[in-house]
């Protein structure tokens, strides 16, 4: 496996635009009140098409990507965690949560100025930390809060009663939004936002599916900067349009055989959030010719997938393309709930075997040689069941390694030791360091 390849490669043309959209997102949130707009906060899994029904001047701050951005700034991240811990929060809590709380506590916004407090909290609840996270923020900022319980079991067991349970809460959510802001909910804006979200999340899955080819047109380190837009504002027009553009560009790279990494020799996948301040580990892998072509996390934290007619995994088809009309509130809420409940990354909360099956599917379809599992001490939710996944993957005969770390708290990541483990895994895969 050590013969060196030399595929053509070139930078992604849309890289700069992705960066600019991300910066604009945070600026929009910070400046929302300048023109009478509203700010709200919740997780990247919040069903953000609902607040979009309040108007075009309503902007969100999603907690996880905000904390991940801070994690890149090691000094500020440490200050935030120290601040959260100094008021008594335990060090083994979600590191994103501690970082976000610390930013509130210090009253400092990563992108400059004081922390822009939200006008309300709008949040989903599937991860054990999610509600407590924003309950504390709501208490600190003295703002109203709404939580949507989506823990209704795996999608393949979804029935009318479970769908009703979530849909009815969405109706309640609209009532909450109107009461807490004094604004009238606009169904037309809401339906447009739902369609945008469906476009964004299905198209992102299509983009990831393009990585099945060899050489991979995208590497996971690059994908982190692209999938993040869906974690910021998946129901926005700009996000949906960007993914359409990106799909065209990646398709073109595939057609021309453009590789993300010119010496791609071996393909791996990772799992869960990476240790954000040590993304150079991905470049280290490349010194062996190993490329991470993605993960269930990168593909499906936001991507919505379904079986394609040929049996492969690809983006879920859009309801209106299947002749489903999306005109009235209740129908759209129901479709919206169903769409989100099919999110692959939610399924493992109910049974780790579902995640193992999806990971093995990725291994087969994306031509993967090995799996690297991050035992992420910073995220109980996504780390739940990883050792079960490890057993299942190993049992299927797929080389797998695990390493301990933390997505946001660098104190729990031992770079030297992880490098040594990576070296051993590369040797297990029959790889040797390649000269630059």
């Amino acid at each position: 496996m050590s013969a060196r390849n030399n595929y053509p490669t070139e930078p992604l043309k849309l890289w700069g635009k992705a960066k600019q959209l991300r910066e604009q997102y945070y600026a929009n949130y910070a400046k929302a009140r300048d023109n009478g707009g509203l700010r709200w906060s919740g997780s990247a899994w919040a069903l953000d098409a609902l607040p979009a029904g309040l108007g075009d001047d309503v902007f969100s701050l999603t907690g996880e990507p905000y904390a991940a951005s801070i994690a890149h700034d090691r000094k500020f991240a440490r200050e935030c965690m120290d601040a959260a811990e100094s008021v008594g929060f335990a060090r083994d809590l979600c590191s994103y949560m501690r970082i976000y709380w610390g930013s509130v506590q210090l009253d400092r916004f990563l992108f400059g100025g004081k922390f822009p407090s939200p006008d309300f909290i709008f949040q989903t609840q599937i991860c054990c930390s999610h509600s407590k996270w924003y309950q504390h923020v709501a208490g600190e900022e003295k703002v109203p809060q709404f939580y949507l319980d989506v823990g209704v079991g795996p999608y393949h067991e979804l029935n009318a009663a479970r769908l009703d349970y979530v849909t009815n809460q969405l109706h309640d959510g609209i009532e909450f939004l109107e009461k807490s802001t004094g604004r009238t909910f606009d169904d037309e804006k809401f339906i447009k936002a739902v369609k945008n979200e469906m476009r964004s999340t299905s198209r992102w899955a299509d983009i990831c599916a393009l990585n099945k080819v060899r050489p991979a047109p995208l590497d996971e380190k690059t994908m982190y900067s692209l999938y993040v837009l869906a974690t910021l504002s998946k129901s926005s027009q700009w996000c949906a349009d960007f993914y359409d553009e990106l799909h065209d560009e990646v398709k073109d790279r595939v057609a021309r055989g453009i590789a993300a990494v010119s010496n791609e020799t071996c393909r791996i996948i990772s799992d869960t959030q990476p240790p954000w301040s040590f993304l150079k580990m991905f470049r280290y892998l490349e010194s062996y010719g190993a490329v991470s072509v993605g993960s269930l996390y990168t593909f499906a934290l936001q991507g919505i997938w379904e079986d394609q007619p040929d049996g492969s995994w690809g983006g879920r088809s859009l309801p209106w393309e299947n002749g489903v009309e999306m005109n009235d509130r209740d129908t759209v809420l129901r479709l919206y709930a169903d769409w989100n409940l099919s999110k692959p990354q939610w399924q493992h909360f109910f049974d780790p075997r579902l995640k193992t099956a999806m990971m093995l599917r990725i291994v087969r379809e994306w031509q993967v040689d090995g799996v690297m599992l991050h035992l992420n001490r910073g995220c109980e939710g996504l780390s739940l069941g990883i050792m079960e996944n490890r057993l299942g993957i190993a049992k299927a005969g797929v080389p797998v390694m695990s390493f301990e770390g933390n997505m946001g708290d660098e104190r729990e990541f031992d770079e030297g030791r992880v490098r040594a483990q990576v070296d051993a895994f590369m040797e297990q895969l029959g790889l040797r360091r390649q000269a630059a």
Partner: protein, 269 residues
């Protein structure tokens, strides 16, 4: 043809010189061990330590550097061995060396001063799966050593004391700091030293066993690394793993260096 393996461990430098002795199908029939050497670096820096240990090994074998076809290095300080042609991870080197010495070994447990690891291997000594301890000292030799000091025993006495105990005292197997405070409590409560020694080694074995179970325990099990010399630990590990026998070698600290020398012979000769 002679190759060398150097294991730059946390505490000591191990050197092994390997000589081609035949043309059989197996590594054991092709290669023989020419010289073993172990050196405690003392105040030397790692670069100097590697040079000195290597030269001492060559001198003991009556050889010059030019007599050696290739040198491979392993261990935490392998990158400091500037004259090594390749660096090999401890997992790959340990498994290769262990299967050379114990051909039926399919699970190799390596417990050194600062690291513990478990490797599943095939019949050629190639690693199929592995697990290693993370940022924790609870499953390694330095912890046992510190506890032996607390009881004012040598590590050898500590292991022998554990064998004399017929009492199992559960201890914290997850954290060396908590375990140490438990040892202090046991001393103050007048618990016999033999029982404390066993409790400590049981805890280390439990930690190591939990890690090795990640890759699965397949017979035979071989134990390498400095802790293989501790009879009390071997007893505790057998009990924790639920196996009747653990294959041991009379050169447990040199197995990684042996693996390196074997790989050097295969790749460079």
């Amino acid at each position: 043809m002679i190759t060398a393996g150097i294991d730059m461990g946390m505490r000591s430098v191990k050197v092994l010189l390997l000589e081609k002795v035949g043309a059989g199908d197996t590594a054991a029939s092709k290669y023989g061990i020419r010289q073993l050497h172990i050196m405690l670096p003392g105040e030397l820096d790692q670069d100097q330590a590697a040079d000195q240990a290597y030269d001492e090994a060559l001198a003991a074998a009556g050889l010059q550097r030019e007599d050696v076809t290739a040198v491979f290095a392993t261990g935490a300080g392998r990158k400091q061995v500037g004259f090594a042609a390749e660096g090999i991870t401890e997992m790959t080197a340990g498994a290769r060396g262990a299967v050379y010495l114990c051909p039926q070994a399919r699970t190799v447990v390596d417990v050194g001063a600062e690291e513990g690891r478990g490797m599943k291997t095939d019949a050629t000594g190639r690693v199929v799966d592995f697990a290693s301890n993370e940022k924790c000292a609870a499953g390694v030799g330095s912890f046992a050593e510190a506890m032996a000091r607390a009881l004012q025993m040598t590590l050898r006495e500590f292991g022998e004391a554990a064998l004399k105990s017929d009492r199992s005292i559960p201890m914290n197997a997850q954290c060396a700091v908590f375990a140490e405070s438990e040892v202090v409590s046991l001393i103050h409560s007048g618990t016999p030293k033999n029982d404390i020694a066993r409790a400590v080694l049981d805890a280390v074995a439990s930690r190591i066993c939990a890690m090795v179970r990640r890759v699965g325990i397949e017979s035979e099990v071989a134990l390498i690394g400095g802790m293989a010399r501790n009879a009390g630990f071997v007893q505790s590990l057998k009990a924790a793993m639920g196996v009747d026998t653990i294959s041991l070698t009379d050169m447990p600290e040199h197995v990684g260096a042996l693996g390196c020398a074997l790989l050097a012979a295969e790749r460079r000769c």
